[in-house]
Amino acid sequence: MKLHLKIWRQKDKNTQGKLVDYWLEDVNPHMSFLEMLDTLNEKLVLSDEMPVEFDHDCREGICGQCGVMINGLAHGPLKNTTTCQLHLREFKDGETIVIEPFRSKAFPVKKDLKVDRAAFDRIIASGGFVSVNTGQAPEANSIPINHETAESAFDSAACIGCGACVATCKNGSAALFTSAKISHMAKLPQGKEEREHRVLNMVHQMDNEDFGHCSNTEACEVECPQSISVLNIAQMNYEYNRAKVLKK
């Protein structure tokens, strides 16, 4: 099949970028989207042009490193799917595909399609953990956790940190990401000990990173590769309100 690509090219953080046209003839519809970019890059390299920089690593939808806007949709046309799991069979022969980086004020573009998502790491560092040192743990079965709670905590913990929620949010809000971690921990008995600190610190950090407000449009849940529920955001709000009320 044939494709017309319009790809965001930007030399570095401080340079203005623009969409550049590329044409690919003869690509296989069973190719993954990233393999299509590999094919393009191979052509670019051989004509001594700089290949398109894009983030990717595991290519099986779990590391969370890949992610671009494809035709104005985070991770492309399939819902709940990472860019690396997207295949060309989802596109029409001869289609024009616009590829842009994930954008938000908190995710500055580093080059081409690569953005800086370190803000997410700083949010986790501010409180997204149980404060347990190596060696302190009690016997695992001494903390029974019912099946539903464990499964529900897993649903929240499944976040891969790709940033699609932020990119797809008109407000550039990181509420889904932050709340997934807060509710993962809040659901489990292990995380209950420091729940007030955690939510206050993480929300504080989230605000410091220049993410926007959540206005509950729920777009994030639709595009999230792990289908993280927006109810996590409600739980974060609950935890936050609770912490504020109980704060001494």
Partner: protein, 218 residues
């Protein structure tokens, strides 16, 4: 101020306004009474509201709510505009409802409407010169009915109530979420309640001018 605190302010002021809308609608239902009864009763009701100290205090909360709600909406929207990315090709809309993305726009429509609405009734009642009815109360009823005789005003009113309906549809549910209700069962119930509430309020308010308009057109 943290983002979630700002959201809580939006939520609390919004919910208060939601509550107010119910009371306001209940009062307005008197307009459906036969003209004679409606006139006296509606005017007496208005008089009671303007004279009562408790109601007076509530009305200050109401003004404050409207102002804070609009002010924080402005602050939040400006911050969100800054934070959100913009794309050359943007199809992100497929993942959410249009009214959830345009609360600011709907809110602005409502604010403009409120100004007209205040000017027409609240200002006239408070600072204008109104004739008295048989019981010696200011005759707000006649003012209302006369106003609703104007077709263009009824149209504005109905459009504003459609905007209100959508604003409430998202706003009420969003407020409850900001409060932190996360149990899936209650979330579902509240969502249904919110839809019913929004429909009831917007239809209820919209139908009154239409009713009055057609009643007197005959």
């Amino acid at each position: 101020m943290q983002s979630l605190t700002r959201k809580i302010l939006m939520c609390l002021t919004g919910l208060f306004l939601c509550f107010f809308l119910i009371i306001h609608l209940l009062g307005n239902l008197q307009l459906f009474l036969p003209a004679k009864t409606a006139q006296l009763q509606f005017n007496a009701y208005s008089h009671f509201l303007s004279g009562n100290l408790f109601i007076k205090m509530v009305s200050y909360v109401l003004y404050a709510s409207i102002i804070l709600h609009a002010l924080y909406a402005l602050v939040i929207t400006m911050k969100n505009k800054q934070s959100g990315g913009s794309y050359k090709t943007d199809n992100r809309g497929r993942a959410s409802k249009w009214y959830s993305r345009n609360m600011g726009m709907l809110g602005t429509v409502l604010l403009v409407f409120l100004i007209i609405h205040f000017k027409n009734f609240w200002y006239e009642y408070k600072f204008g010169v109104l004739p008295m009815d048989a019981n010696g109360n200011k005759d707000l009823y006649t003012l209302v009915v006369t106003t609703y005789q104007e077709g263009w005003y009824v149209v504005i009113y109905v459009i504003a109530m459609i905007a209100l309906g959508y604003h409430l549809l998202h706003g009420f549910f969003s407020a409850i979420r900001t409060l932190g209700v996360f149990h899936p069962k209650f979330v579902r119930w509240i969502r249904y309640f919110g839809i019913g509430y929004s429909l009831m309020i917007s239809l209820g308010f919209a139908i009154i001018p239409v009713y009055v308009y057609f009643l007197n057109a005959k």
